[in-house]
Symmetry: D2
Subunit: 347 residues, 4 copies
């Protein structure tokens, strides 16, 4: 099988795996009182160019939901795109961690939230006790349809959110791929653009089971964000069963991912291979290739044929649409990409 289903089929990249062995040396205090965890904030502050408060958790789903719980009380709502991972793929995890807050959905091309659509959705809410109030906006970078938000686009959303007293969360599922694609500084599309909390996105791009949730106290939202959100976070994480015992193996993954620079190398390679697939797909692309996801209109018969031929990927959207998604991982073999390109070109 040649895997293009998702970047979560990938293995762990060498620097991260090596960091686990390196950390495996004698006794160490548990629950984040170790020396690896102690360096986390400083390393990520350097990475982002601003003060941060960071926490590790074991899944992006947990990171997203714990973040949203700090932003939105149970009787309020988080706005997000209808195709977002938090709505479509997390089985109600945000609702669990927020204590039953709603997700209120926004439509838009390429799973992207536009300022116009966000504003229109906001008009639906009335400021009275009979309805939930919007308290957070969550966007995905890159989106579930492979699109990216520029720093200007993020900032425009942040300004509208903050003006309404809402906080801005970024699900950085493919954050590194977006940074590479935009050729920008990690701070440009986060705190400098008004992001209050970021799910960093480590696992898909080479990690094992550590994600980092990053709070930016100096984002433009400082005025509206609950002041005790960060201090509450520790309790929320513990209570979710996500404060893992041997914390050094969590922090070590994130440190290695950032400090070795592998975050960039892995994303660059995956994006580059995706571009090759995009060229092979040609006019059948349903959207320009921005990161490591490629969406192609193949037709129902072609999808069936390629699955039969040993390519593992997901048909996307309604089966009748005949659209396919191909995702490249940091460790996708060149030969697999060659084969895919050949198969696409031959069609």
């Amino acid at each position: 099988m040649r895997y293009f289903k998702s970047d979560n089929t990938a293995a762990v990249c060498p620097p991260v795996l090596a960091a686990l062995s390196a950390a495996n040396d004698g006794a160490s205090l548990p629950y984040g009182a170790d020396s690896w965890s102690a360096r986390l904030d400083a390393v990520l502050a350097e990475f982002f160019g601003t003060r941060v408060k960071a926490f590790t958790v074991v899944s992006g789903t947990a990171a997203n939901s714990l973040a949203l719980a700090t932003m939105c009380p149970p009787w309020d709502t988080v706005l997000t795109h209808r195709e977002s991972h938090i709505e479509h793929d997390e089985c109600g995890t945000p609702e669990f961690f927020t204590g039953g807050a709603k997700l209120s959905l926004i439509e838009g091309e390429q799973a992207k939230v536009s300022v116009a659509a966000f504003g229109e959705r906001l008009a639906w809410f009335e400021d009275h006790v009979h309805g939930v109030q919007p308290k957070a906006l969550s966007i995905t970078q890159a989106t579930e349809r492979g699109a990216i938000y520029t720093s200007a686009e993020v900032l425009a959303l942040a300004e509208l959110a903050h003006a309404r007293g809402m906080a801005l969360h970024m699900d950085g599922a493919r954050f590194a791929n977006a940074v590479v694609a935009l050729d920008c500084h990690p701070g440009d599309i986060t705190w400098r653009a008004g992001v209050d909390v970021l799910s960093l996105g480590v696992i898909k791009n080479g990690g094992m089971n550590a994600e980092a949730l990053v709070f930016f106290p100096d984002s433009a939202a400082a005025a509206t964000f609950p002041t005790d959100a960060v201090s509450q976070f520790e309790y929320r994480r513990k209570r979710g069963g996500h404060l893992v015992c041997k914390g050094r193996y969590m922090a070590a993954q994130v440190l290695a991912y950032i400090e070795s620079g592998v975050w960039r190398r892995n994303a660059e390679r995956a994006n580059r291979l995706a571009q090759r697939i995009g060229v092979a797909a040609g006019t059948r692309l349903t959207a320009p290739v921005a990161t490591n996801q490629v969406f192609v209109k193949l037709g129902v018969a072609q999808i069936a044929a390629m699955l039969d031929a040993g390519f593992a990927f997901y048909p996307w959207g309604p089966a009748s649409a005949g659209e396919a998604r191909f995702v490249v991982s940091w460790d996708t073999a060149d030969a697999d990409v060659d084969a895919l390109c050949a198969a696409l070109a031959g069609n």
Copy 2:
């Protein structure tokens, strides 16, 4: 520092670490659809000598709470010892995962639940809509005070629980140490003694961040346990953010832990070293040394002196009691135990 605070300060044992590297080979389907996860039930069935349905999670706290949530509706209660980890050390995680079920507390020496105390606590509940109903009993093996339940003791509790329509959960925080201490088969103190669900206890005894939750469909409780508890479990785990993406690295830890036999070797060594400390403590022991935990009445001044001397351990109970707990890990150095024994003997 010489660490005797807890076995969670230990590193990862070699077979488990090696298994992570071995699993790091190419693409693999995510979310438990990998070949390692596929073997989990069979390997644990062999280990326990009965059919099982097992799931991995990243912490004992998550394992316990997810287990209890399958046993107890939000409007009912779990009985447990007042000193149990689920009551004292999990910051309300069981309440979170059950949706607000109560923990109703039982007193008893050495953090152990006796049949008499369990029966007495049960008498408190009236079968009407105004009060919570008891739906589960949770016991810890070995207890938070280092005691162990014999298979006869477990069975007696299970029979009373099942007669009342309750399920029995065992928090196997130091399960391997108890099996070794009792020199019994793992099945003897679990399903054969009426345990319905077990938190296996991998991390303290040499794992990295994988615990296993084990359901025993053939325990004596089959009649009273909710029939859809196991099928619901997958949704509960996902919704808790605990269905990790790259599942192979979870299952691989548990498989290596069991199949290499390291579970036994690690526990044997830790128990043996604890016996040495017990001998050194002599009549100051506040309870016989059963597993890898040692409780010693040192006095307030002695505790302070030993902390100053570089021994890292916890005073236990009220500070004025002058009691200390020493826990031996699988990787505690012989030299550290030598030093501790000398210090204790010298006092």
Copy 3:
């Protein structure tokens, strides 16, 4: 002021008020163990022509949410119209009582769920652990836009729901008005049409603070509805603080409402007056007048003028749309309707 804001501005109708005084005679067992509560099931069974299990609660919001909680686990979803009361006007109460289940929204004219739109929405859900599963459909009779579902329409929705393993809830906010408008038997648009649970709708049509939630064990959904839903309901209600102490005053309201026939008389009068308003509105009606709600396109200026003139009503939808809703209560004065008709005719 002449009130056309909502039928919840109405007073309590005489038979219901008289029933409270009649019940105020000496001691009576609390929490539903009184003789009024004891008659509730039989009286409603007679009313609906089938076995029922009924419970009183103090608000329609509580009735709806408790009903949905019996139908949908926390990790699943309830489908409903985007303009439904449970989505738009209950501030997350369904999410609270279900423990965080989602509401998944359906679009449609006049706040009505069509079979086609329901089927299309269902296609969105995939049967895997990563997404919530649809477990209930909730429709409002009459809808928030004044439309009614015929028995054939309800049945078609029920059949699709039941085929998918979902239960059907009807929010009978203006149930009596719908029965009168359809000139049908109460059973025709409930259990005979596949409704599993009904929020009866007493308060708007003349009650004080008692609603009834009615389970229909003999609806077509018997096979898919959780078998212990009804038995759990008592615990859910208690735990929501909705098992009121002096239960006789709750049951007495519902009994009087049904047995006196005032449910029909009140609805008939309100519907009749609404028809008069509809005639006065003429071609400006945005939908035919079916029950006691009238939607009229007045224009922004006209709305302002009529509010100034002492008519109390809600502009409906976006302010720029210039649409108004007028609701007639059982006790709206003829003179107020005369005045409204004159004002509309004069425009």
Copy 4:
């Protein structure tokens, strides 16, 4: 039957019933925007002699739980007596409304929390992320065993609570009976003694289905109580399904109860009759009669005989204890008390 089971078997007292009829006059804005609700704060401010913010709900259980939810986050704990109503008789309602906070239990004679026992229980909690933190103390006035807290006793508890950053809730289940028994001002045992929130206790003493929850912003706890607790309350109440539609009938009950002075007259009568029963019970009293509850050691046989003789009351505690509780309501017939006294004297 002669009812001494509980004061919740009583009817509604005339001033309250009359107030419902008086309020039944024409249209009125819903959801607390009526003129009765508008007067609630002022009338209760006058009653207590301080600023208040008050809300009506339909049950004492809802009042208590909503109050606790404003004081205690989901990951923390409320301290209370083991025999308290919130622990023993509310089926987990506090856990539901708090989102899963714990109740941590305190022992003590007559269901009363002493400063010593409170302090001892506090010592159990450690200030770290692994355990819940104490955030509120809830006491019952009068207690479930008929005892009362003097203003000095309340203040001593409040001072300890506030010093620890905890808020103080009083479940005023039989608040009027306590005020009468203590012959004090209602403010003396509430805000002047450091109570932050009071469940007023209307229904047992003559109301129908309206309780009032009273926040005291000027209690001594102003510094530690969450600043947005009161503003959140409106959302919490709505979301619990407890913001009833026709709010005038809620407020009217509480206004009539206070303004007519019936709160005092009813309590005086009930207390006086209880004193007579106490005299008849003589040395068999297990505690002095303080309010309208009488606890008598009758023996198992005597209890059975009196139940057979048509006295309706509860055996209290373990059946083998042979203790009985007799509660007098505002409307208990003199003849019933005569008969009970005779029966007790004859034994």
